[in-house]
C-alpha cells in the first residue's frame, strides 16, 4: 500500500478515535454520576478525594472527581451552572468573593449569612462546617515560642520590638492585613520583610525571621515545626470550610446529606495541615491520604 493512502487511513482512524472518546465523555456525564469539583491547590484536591471516598464508601452513587478545575470563581460558577454538584468552600471566600459582602468577624454569623444567601440566591446548601478555619495565621518557630513563652498574638506586644516579621506582599497590601493587625494588637516589629510566601517559610525555618504570616492549614506549619499564635482578638476574618451541595442533588439522593455531614467538625486546622504536608512535602498520593484519614477516623 502506498504511504499516502496509509497515512490517510491513519488520520481518519485517529479522528474517529478522538470523536468516540469525546462522545463517551459526554455520555458519561449525562448518566447518573455526581461531580465533585475542586480548586487548583493541594488542600482542595485532598478535600475532593475525602468527599468522593466518603460517598463511594457509604452509598451506591457513582462519583466523578474533578480536582484542579481552576480558581475559586471557576469552581463556584460550575457549581451554580450544574457542571459540578459538590464542592468545598470557605465562609470568607463565599462572603467576600462570591456575595461581595463586607467581612464579618464573627465566624457563626458569617456562616449563617452565606448559608442563607446561597440557599436563596443559588439553590446551594452549605452543610455543617468541617471544623477547620483556613484563615491567615501568625506563626513562630515552636522552640522560640516556648522559650519566650507566648501562645497568643497579644502576647507578642512586649517582644515585637526584637522580632522580625516576614510577610507576604498580599498581607501588607490588604486592608484587613498588616496595618490593621498592627493597630488592633498594638504591635510594632523590629523589621518587616515582604517576601514570596514560599520563601517566607524557608526564611523562618532558617531563623532569618522570627514571625511569619501564612495560612492556617498549610502543610509546612507542622512540617517545619511552626506554631500558630492564637488570634485572641478574632482579628482575622473566618474562613471556615464546609461542603456545598446543590439542593436538587440533595433531593435526588436523599441519603447524601447525612453521609456528608458525618465528617462535619472532624477535620481540625492541625489535621488539615498534616494532610496537606503529606501530599505537598511527603509527596503522597492525595487519594490515599484522603482514604487513610477517613479510615483512621473510623468513618469508613
Amino acid at each position: 500500500m502506498d504511504i499516502r493512502k496509509l497515512r490517510k487511513k491513519l488520520v481518519l482512524g485517529a479522528v474517529m478515535l478522538i470523536l468516540s472518546i469525546s462522545l463517551a465523555a459526554c455520555g458519561s456525564s449525562s448518566s447518573k454520576k455526581i461531580v465533585v469539583g475542586g480548586k487548583d491547590f493541594t488542600e482542595q484536591d485532598i478535600l475532593v478525594n475525602i468527599v468522593s471516598e466518603l460517598i463511594e464508601a457509604k452509598t451506591d452513587i457513582k462519583v466523578d472527581r474533578k480536582p484542579y478545575l481552576g480558581g475559586s470563581s471557576v469552581v463556584t460558577s460550575s457549581l451554580q451552572s450544574g457542571d459540578v454538584d459538590i464542592m468545598v468552600d470557605y465562609t470568607g471566600t463565599g462572603l467576600v468573593s462570591v456575595l461581595k459582602e463586607e467581612v464579618i468577624a464573627d465566624a457563626d454569623e458569617a456562616y449563617r449569612v452565606v448559608k442563607e444567601r446561597y440557599d436563596n440566591d443559588f439553590g446551594i446548601k452549605w452543610l455543617e462546617p468541617l471544623g477547620f478555619n483556613n484563615t491567615f495565621a501568625i506563626t513562630m518557630r515552636k522552640e522560640m515560642a516556648d522559650e519566650i513563652g507566648i501562645e497568643t498574638i497579644s502576647q507578642l506586644k512586649d517582644h515585637a520590638k526584637d522580632l522580625s516579621f516576614a510577610s507576604t506582599q498580599e498581607f501588607l497590601e490588604r486592608e484587613d492585613g498588616y496595618d490593621s493587625m498592627k493597630e488592633i494588637y498594638g504591635i510594632e516589629f523590629k523589621d518587616v520583610k515582604a517576601m514570596d510566601p514560599g520563601l517566607a517559610y524557608t526564611a523562618i525555618k532558617e531563623e532569618q525571621v522570627d514571625i511569619s504570616v501564612s495560612f492556617a492549614t498549610d502543610g509546612r506549619i507542622p512540617a517545619f515545626g511552626l506554631k500558630i499564635l492564637e488570634d485572641d482578638k478574632n482579628f482575622f476574618p473566618p474562613y471556615d470550610a464546609a461542603i456545598l451541595v446543590r439542593n436538587d442533588i440533595l433531593e435526588e439522593y436523599s441519603e447524601l446529606e447525612d453521609v456528608l455531614n458525618s465528617i462535619a467538625g472532624k477535620l481540625t486546622d492541625e489535621e488539615m495541615a498534616k494532610l496537606n504536608a503529606q501530599v505537598d512535602l511527603e509527596k503522597k498520593d492525595s487519594k490515599q491520604v484522603a482514604k487513610q484519614w477517613l479510615v483512621e477516623k473510623g468513618i469508613i
Binding site: 497590601e173 517576601m195 520563601l199 524557608t202 532569618q208
Partner: protein, 218 residues
C-alpha cells in the same frame, strides 16, 4: 476593567503612593547598580582570564549559563540558608543572572579581535599586559560594553524578584498589585521598571558609542 480605567487607577496609585514608588525605585536602582558592579568586576576579569585558558573556557561559561537557567525562586530558596534574607541574597542572585552576558561578551569580544593586530603587537615587543590594555581591550570594548548593557537591562528586570526575599524594589509594588488584583498598583511598579530599563539602555548605548575608539566607528 477597561484600558481607560487601568490608566486612571495607575495615575491614582502613582499620586497616592508616590513616596512608596520613589522608595522602591531608589532601592531598585541601588540593587541593580550594586549587582551590576559586582557582575562587571567578576565577569570582565574572568572573561579575560578565560581567553588565556581557552581549554576551560567552555566549561566555565557552561557552568555560568547553567546558573542562569536555575529558576529564580529556587535560586533564592538556596540562598536563604546561606546568605539570609534581604539585599544580600538578592544582590548575589542578580549578580549570577547578570554575569553570563558580561562574561560571554568579554570572552568572545577578545577572542574575536583581529589576530593580526595581536600578533603584530607581540612581534613588535609589547608585553602581554600592554597587548591587553593597548590592543585587546580597546578593540573589544564595544562588544564588552554591549554585554554590560544586556546585563543591565536583564538585571533591572530580574531585580523585581528582589522583593521575594524582602529586599524591596519595584517588585514590591508589582507583587502587591498581583496579589490584590490591582492593575494600577502593578503598573506603578512595572512602568517605572520599564522606564528605568529604557533609560539605562539608552545611557549605556551612548557610553558604548563614546568608548568605541574613533578608528573603529562606522
Amino acid at each position: 476593567m477597561g484600558t481607560e480605567n487601568i490608566f486612571l487607577s495607575f495615575i491614582n496609585t502613582m499620586n497616592e503612593r508616590w513616596s512608596m514608588v520613589l522608595d522602591s525605585l531608589i532601592s531598585h536602582i541601588w540593587l541593580t547598580l550594586i549587582a551590576l558592579l559586582i557582575a562587571v568586576l567578576i565577569g570582565v576579569p574572568l572573561g579575560i582570564f578565560l581567553t588565556r585558558r581557552r581549554k576551560i573556557a567552555d566549561f566555565v561559561i557552561g557552568v555560568v549559563s547553567v546558573f542562569q537557567t536555575i529558576p529564580s525562586l529556587a535560586l533564592l530558596g538556596f540562598m536563604i540558608p546561606l546568605f539570609g534574607i534581604g539585599p544580600k541574597p538578592a544582590v548575589i542572585a542578580l549578580t549570577i543572572y547578570g554575569l553570563l552576558p558580561i562574561l560571554q561578551n568579554t570572552y568572545t569580544g577578545i577572542i574575536g579581535i583581529d589576530q593580526g593586530a595581536k600578533e603584530a603587537g607581540k612581534g613588535m615587543g609589547m608585553t602581554s599586559t600592554q597587548i591587553l590594555f593597548m590592543v585587546e581591550i580597546p578593540l573589544s570594548i564595544s562588544v564588552i560594553m554591549a554585554g554590560i548593557r544586556t546585563a543591565t537591562v536583564l538585571i533591572i528586570g530580574v531585580t523585581t524578584l528582589a522583593s521575594l526575599v524582602g529586599a524591596g524594589g519595584l517588585g514590591d509594588l508589582i507583587f502587591r498589585g498581583i496579589s490584590s488584583v490591582n492593575p494600577g498598583l502593578i503598573l506603578s511598579g512595572a512602568v517605572p521598571a520599564a522606564v528605568l530599563a529604557i533609560f539605562f539602555d539608552f545611557l549605556l548605548k551612548f557610553l558604548e558609542k563614546k568608548m568605541t575608539p574613533r578608528g573603529l566607528r562606522d
